[in-house]
């Protein structure tokens, strides 16, 4: 089982649980985001993080957003609390982690970073 993390903390139910297979697109971390076909307009794109050291998913998310994807984006796998703000800033809406990881890194550690818009150098350099 898994836990969904949002700005509000741990969610007990997954809003996406009832989506049909055609509405969900899952991308491995070695996907080239520039060639992903979004024409079927999935409601949810899940980007896999096989390891917290593998940061490709952050670029995948940004490129999908830059290519006009406006549906929900989820980071799933080995994402740690300290990466929550990065995931949000790159365009993810929520993060899906294992129960194990949720037990080891409880909700308060994730909520510590829930004000992810604060102190953001990059948005400050992009537009006024």
């Amino acid at each position: 089982m898994s836990v969904i993390v949002t700005d509000a903390g741990f969610a007990t139910t997954d809003w996406a649980a009832d989506l049909g297979a055609q509405d969900v697109l899952t991308l491995a971390s070695d996907t080239n985001p520039h060639t992903v076909d979004l024409s079927a307009a999935p409601k949810l794109v899940r980007v896999e993080f096989p390891s917290s050291a593998d940061g490709r998913g952050f670029t995948i998310a940004r490129v999908l957003r830059d290519h006009g994807y406006t549906g929900k984006l989820r980071a799933t796998g080995h994402v740690i609390a300290d990466q929550y703000a990065m995931a949000r800033r790159c365009g993810f809406d929520d993060v899906e982690i294992s129960d194990d990881l949720a037990a080891r890194q409880p909700e308060d550690q994730w909520k510590f970073r829930s004000d992810w818009r604060q102190n953001d150098y990059q948005s400050r350099l992009r537009r006024a």
Binding site: H34, G55, D82, Q109, R113, Y121
Partner: protein
């Protein structure tokens, strides 16, 4: 000089609070060492051979005296009374305790300094020409651009978990004093038809596969820098190899895909990113520039300097080697050598740091630089102040007259500190420096760069040393390979191996044989070692190194 904005201060306070919490969570077990590792590395904390090591950034190598004093305080309070200046304009503390690190970071924050992104697979401290703002040959001071890049790369959400570390260096002149060609991205300020812009190089690096950076844009308009840099790194994050850490640097990505493909992908990404930058970064750049305005130079006679130069041979020797031309008449750029013969290259005690801070405040408009050659620079000293400055430096062993000479050696920590080392490097540097000091040949030999690494990772830049020394392990015995003809300047060249290596006991003699061959073959004292090598090739040096090949004296490794 740059003063933190309210934003910088708030960012740093939050970041330090986060790291304090992370350290507590590591100590209470909610973070595993595997999970803690990337987080501590993002905050400059390494695990070394004997203890943790904290690497503190000195962005673009520039310090105010108050910052230097704080570095001295930290060395005394939380370390063993000294610090080590590195080849990437950082200072390393070799003995901090994990529990103390959050307090050290707060102390750094008090003087607008940090250890963020000085390690880990992210964009590292942005380095710059250590003569910036003082050199006569520059288009403009490169530091404001380096500061802009520092802000852009800090905590960049997309680039904290890259395939491998990523290093920028920035220069403002044709002369390359920051080795930009051995960086992942090199930025050179240029002017074309009266317009400012940048020449951008990509894919340089040393390590086990040394590569010289390639030009990806010969002229990038000023306002495009951040989106273009973002495009290069974004392309790398997708394309860079993650299956083999020795092939993960961008130099390999560019090499394997070819610069043309890499450029094509970068340009496509750039087109997507460019509209996202609305131009505020350029406004910020101009306000940063204003903070780097040149100090009020004075117009005064230099009689005191001229008199001391005539009367005092020790002062004269120091002035001849340790001063560089300043853009303003009557001023000099002073290099303070951290390479006293027999000492560890790049080490400074707390007492020395405090003296340098005082002298920087008194004589150099509160501006102090750390060079990638592990020396300290006072960039703006009026010549009439030089005799007093020299006298003060002498009191703490800081007046060694060897800048650019054979004993001004770059050496990595090697076996003395580093867990990856295959050989000692600091003791080799010490022995070579002492040998040529004893022979009193140093000034006759003239400009010569020796660079030493204690393993193939090449932290000591041996590939770009005129003489490079690489310490390896051959069946449990230290073996030193020599390369000749390397050059880290705008004519960047990777040195060529001479042949079999030498044992620890033999290496200093081997270097002496090379030097004697040079002295014998040079056309006159004006021809430097590097010029002689380029004219003659390796043969006369090989003949000196391996006088009797048949006997197989040099152990064939």
């Amino acid at each position: 000089m740059y003063k933190y904005s309210e934003f910088d201060t708030a960012f740093l306070a939050e970041r330090n609070a986060q790291f304090r919490a992370q350290v507590e969570r590591r100590i209470d077990g909610s973070l595993t060492e595997d999970e803690f590792k990337p987080l501590r590395l993002m905050n400059g904390l390494y695990l070394q051979l004997h203890a943790y090591m904290l690497r503190v950034a000195i962005p673009y190598g520039t310090l105010r005296s108050a910052q230097m004093r704080q570095l001295a305080m930290i060395a005394e309070k939380w370390d063993k009374g000294y610090g080590h200046f590195t080849t990437r304009q950082n200072i390393q503390y070799n003995w901090p305790k994990l529990r103390d690190v959050p307090d050290i970071l707060d102390a750094l924050g008090e003087v607008e300094m940090h250890a963020i992104q000085t390690s880990g697979n992210t964009i590292r401290n942005v380095t710059a020409d250590h003569f910036a703002g003082a050199a006569a040959d520059e288009v403009d001071d490169p530091r404001p651009v380096a500061e802009l890049l520092r802000q852009w790369s800090t905590d960049h959400p997309e680039f904290q978990f890259l395939p491998r570390k990523f290093k920028f260096a920035v220069i403002g002149s044709e002369a390359d004093r920051a080795v930009i060609r051995a960086h992942d991205i090199g930025v050179q300020l240029v002017e074309q038809d009266g317009k400012r812009g940048y020449r951008i190089l990509v894919g340089g690096g040393l390590g086990r596969t040394p590569m010289i950076g390639k030009v990806i844009r010969d002229f990038l308009p000023e306002e495009d820098l951040l989106p273009y840099a973002e495009a290069i790194v974004s392309t790398y994050n997708i394309l860079g190899r993650r299956d083999n850490k020795y092939k993960a640097r961008i130099k390999i990505t560019v090499h394997e895909n070819g610069i043309d493909t890499y450029k094509e992908l970068t340009e496509a990404r750039f087109a997507e990113l460019k509209p996202q930058f609305e131009g505020v970064d350029q406004e910020m750049l101009s306000s940063i520039r204003a903070q780097f305005a040149a100090p009020a130079f004075r117009n005064a006679p230099t009689d005191d300097f001229d008199a001391a130069y005539k009367a005092d041979p020790v002062f004269r020797a120091w002035a001849d080697t340790n001063l560089a031309a300043h853009k303003v008449e009557g001023y000099a750029i002073v290099s303070i050598s951290l390479k006293k013969h027999g000492e560890t290259p790049g080490d400074a005690t707390a007492e020395q740091m405090r003296l340098i801070a005082d002298l920087g405040e008194q004589y150099s408009h509160d501006d102090i630089r750390i060079s990638h050659e592990q020396n300290v620079i006072l960039p703006h000293v009026h010549k009439s102040d030089l005799p007093a400055l020299h006298a003060a430096l002498k009191t703490l062993g800081l007046a060694t007259a060897n800048i650019g000479l054979i004993s001004d050696i770059i050496a990595c920590p090697g076996m003395d500190y580093c867990a990856l080392a295959t050989a000692r490097s600091i003791p080799v540097a010490q022995e070579i420096a002492q040998r040529f000091d004893a022979l009193k040949m140093e000034h006759d030999i003239g400009p010569l760069k020796i660079k030493i690494s204690g393993c193939i990772n090449a932290c000591g830049h041996h590939h770009v040393g005129h003489i490079g020394i690489l310490g390896l392990d051959r069946a449990g015995v230290e073996n030193y390979q020599i390369t000749l003809g390397g050059d880290g300047t705008e004519e960047a060249t990777i040195g060529q191996r001479t042949g079999p290596g030498f044992s620890y006991e033999e290496i200093t003699d081997a270097i002496e044989r090379i030097i004697r061959a040079y002295l014998e073959h040079r056309t006159d004292a004006q021809e430097t070692f590097l010029e002689a090598y380029r004219r003659l090739g390796a043969d006369p040096f090989k003949a000196a190194l391996y006088p009797d090949k048949a006997e197989g004296k040099a152990n064939a490794a």
